[in-house]
Symmetry: none
Subunit: 421 residues, 2 copies
């Protein structure tokens, strides 16, 4: 865009802002600075008591360092997406990164590709694949998950499917786990806007891929050709004698955090999917190890290089999904133990929260609000003396949304110009 | 409008309300009444503690009258514009007056003209002018503020620039302070949608004014001719041998409060800018003196004549900007001392808050929420016994937005009809 057009867009923006996302307001106000912001995400942090009178995982954990930080912070409760809505990992993180997750979605195919560390290009079309069992007589779906074949079998079948050749595009087939795989098409003229093939019911045939807009017609034809070849190659395999494609999508082309907020953003995460989402948001991925200590070491090494750090702790969510209350408590206590090393770097603004709740008693993501803590020299400390769900309900931030967090961090970091004269 | 059209508009409105401003809802529901609303704005009221364990300015101030009022009020915290966003005086007041400040903006040129009490007409185009130093050899900007020339020099140069004649329009040049002045063009066919001339960097030439829409082409040409004449007249002045124009804009043409809310609105403010913003919103300006006592006297004199009073106290903000914690405390205590005289008038609804925070430790406007108090015979008093930031965090209003305040006041004043059957 040349400067003249930029002027024109800004002028339009001024009068049309109400129709646009708040990202435009942030883009307009963001200024460069020397301050540093740390967003510490304990995946699935929010919990529930095991008995009505009991404590949540976070409340039960012995967290002297989080509590001391909460005491000098402003705290509150935050909704990741919308009241009552349980976020997937994609929307939960998009919201933490300041994107309205109801406007910006990452397709399941893209998330699955990011989750295995696939180097997805902006023009690639990615689909989540499911091996399934087709009735040999009727061709109707008999088992949508092919009796959950072992991961090794899935890997062998993926190798077989790599034989498929499509005119003008490359087709990558990568195993994920059990019956799940990823298909990525790479080439020119590939578009998203495509239906899924899984009818989501047994006793029905797999559906063809249909284009939802004219540009996607060619991509649909390529995928249908790939599916026909795949079914031929799988015909003598049992129970995985068929497959379906779901969530066929491209990189959503998010406006980059670096550009919106004028921040150099570094991401530290042990799992590929979170690195992938951070990358879509325009962060640089900092190589790290497997443990929280490795992540802290990475943070220290790169402290001088970035203005904003996304620091992701995965295992709170894993233990929650396992229904392992004590295990989740232990991960929180583990993070608490390394917190002094993190705070010794003297970030100007620290936000600690989760992308969604994963209460051990629920053994899955949930819709519950997240406790959140914001520390800075310029907060009005509230009455919260302990980092936990019940204390944070009385916090000075009140009840906010995840999408408020990055703008708040920018304000506290002195990185937003005054709005209007 | 005849009755049939009115029906049609209401019918449309019902389905389009989500796309429209809430002002239409207010316009639809507002009814006349005998009740009186007082909006008492302590400019820059919100503060911060000087040490983490300390008190804010408002908390430190000895305010027996505000505290007694808070005890029979419902209190809360209010965001002026958006989380993390620091409001200028224009947006802060627009929000207090019920206008979404992200949809309605007042240009810097207009605010500057209002700030010196210039009698701006709706069709005028106003610009903030800055004298600057141009390198005599290269013509590039050497100092964007002309070494902050004394106000008297600025005034002499403005007198010189009044010689400039433009075809078909009048050009008013008024000094503001030091290197700042206001240029107002008055005539027909003047449009806003114009770029600034200040490149915001030294070592670059002043830019021409460019139209951002076709209608503004003629106005841009007039301003460029004025600038060419101005540079000729200033050529032998040093260091103020050039000038720039910024924030070139017109009266935003706000829908008037009197019309939306069916209120006769009076404004009492000691500073021209706040009188100007109130005037843009459709209030009548009540002449007053320099002190808070003068303002109270004005309020008493006009008590019978209006339904809604905007009462503005400036110096809380001034002392905050100065970094003068004790000075700001003293202004708050001063207001507290006259509060009984104000309450003796028996307003039906009193709202006390600020347009934005100006913590003395930050010495500037800030993004922090504002404590707010709403008193009426019909509130459910909450547990807040002291008017201060931390007490208000636990208030019964919770966390609201400034744009909620006028609708709340209207409700408590019994001036909104029931919505729907």
């Amino acid at each position: 865009m040349n400067a003249e057009n930029a002027d024109f867009v800004n002028f339009q923006g001024r009068f049309q802002r109400s129709k646009m996302t708040d990202l435009n307001l942030m883009r307009e106000l963001a200024i460069e600075g020397q301050t540093k912001i740390l967003l510490l995400v304990l995946d699935g942090l929010g919990g529930l008591p095991q008995t009505p009178a009991g404590l949540t995982e976070l409340e039960a954990a012995r967290t002297p360092n989080l509590d001391a930080l909460a005491a000098r912070s402003i705290c509150g409760m935050s909704t990741a997406v919308a009241p009552g809505v349980t976020p997937g990992s994609g929307p939960g993180h998009l919201a933490l990164f300041g994107y309205d997750p109801l406007r910006h979605e990452i397709g399941r195919g893209v998330l699955e590709a990011l989750g295995i560390g696939f180097d997805l290009q902006p023009s690639d079309v990615a689909a989540r694949g499911n091996f399934c069992t087709l009735d040999p007589q009727t061709g109707l779906i008999a088992d949508r998950r092919a009796n959950r074949i072992p991961t090794e079998v899935g890997a062998r079948l993926c190798a077989k499917l790599r034989q498929i050749r499509l005119s003008g595009v490359e087709a990558f087939v990568e195993p994920v786990k059990e019956y799940r795989f990823v298909l990525v098409l790479r080439g020119e003229y590939l578009y998203d806007g495509l239906t899924e093939t899984d009818p989501q019911q047994v006793g029905k045939p797999p559906l063809p891929v249909k284009p939802l807009r004219p540009e996607a017609t060619h991509t649909a034809a390529l995928l249908n050709q790939w599916l026909a070849d795949a079914r031929r190659l799988l015909a003598d395999e049992y129970p995985a004698n068929g497959c379906n494609l779901r969530g066929i999508d491209k990189d959503p082309g998010l406006p980059k955090l670096s550009e919106i907020y004028k921040l150099r953003c570094g991401a530290i995460a042990t799992y590929p999917m979170y690195r992938g989402v951070a990358q879509l948001a325009g962060m640089e991925i900092l190589p790290t190890g497997e443990t929280i200590e490795d992540e802290v070491e990475t943070l220290k090494q790169h402290w001088a290089d970035y203005d904003f750090f996304f620091f992701h702790v995965k295992k709170t969510d894993s233990r929650g999904e396992d229904g392992d209350f004590e295990g989740k408590v232990a991960v929180i206590e583990h993070l608490d133990a390394v917190l002094p090393d993190i705070l010794a770097l003297e970030p100007d603004v620290v936000i600690i929260t989760g992308d969604h709740s994963t209460p051990a008693v629920w053994s899955a993501h949930s819709w519950h609000e997240l406790p959140v803590l914001l520390a800075s020299s310029y907060v009005r400390p509230d009455s919260v003396m302990q980092f936990g769900e019940r204390p944070c309900m009385a916090g000075g931030l009140g009840h906010i949304y995840h999408t408020d967090l990055l703008p708040l961090a920018m304000g506290y970091a002195g990185r937003l110009a005054k709005f209007g004269a």
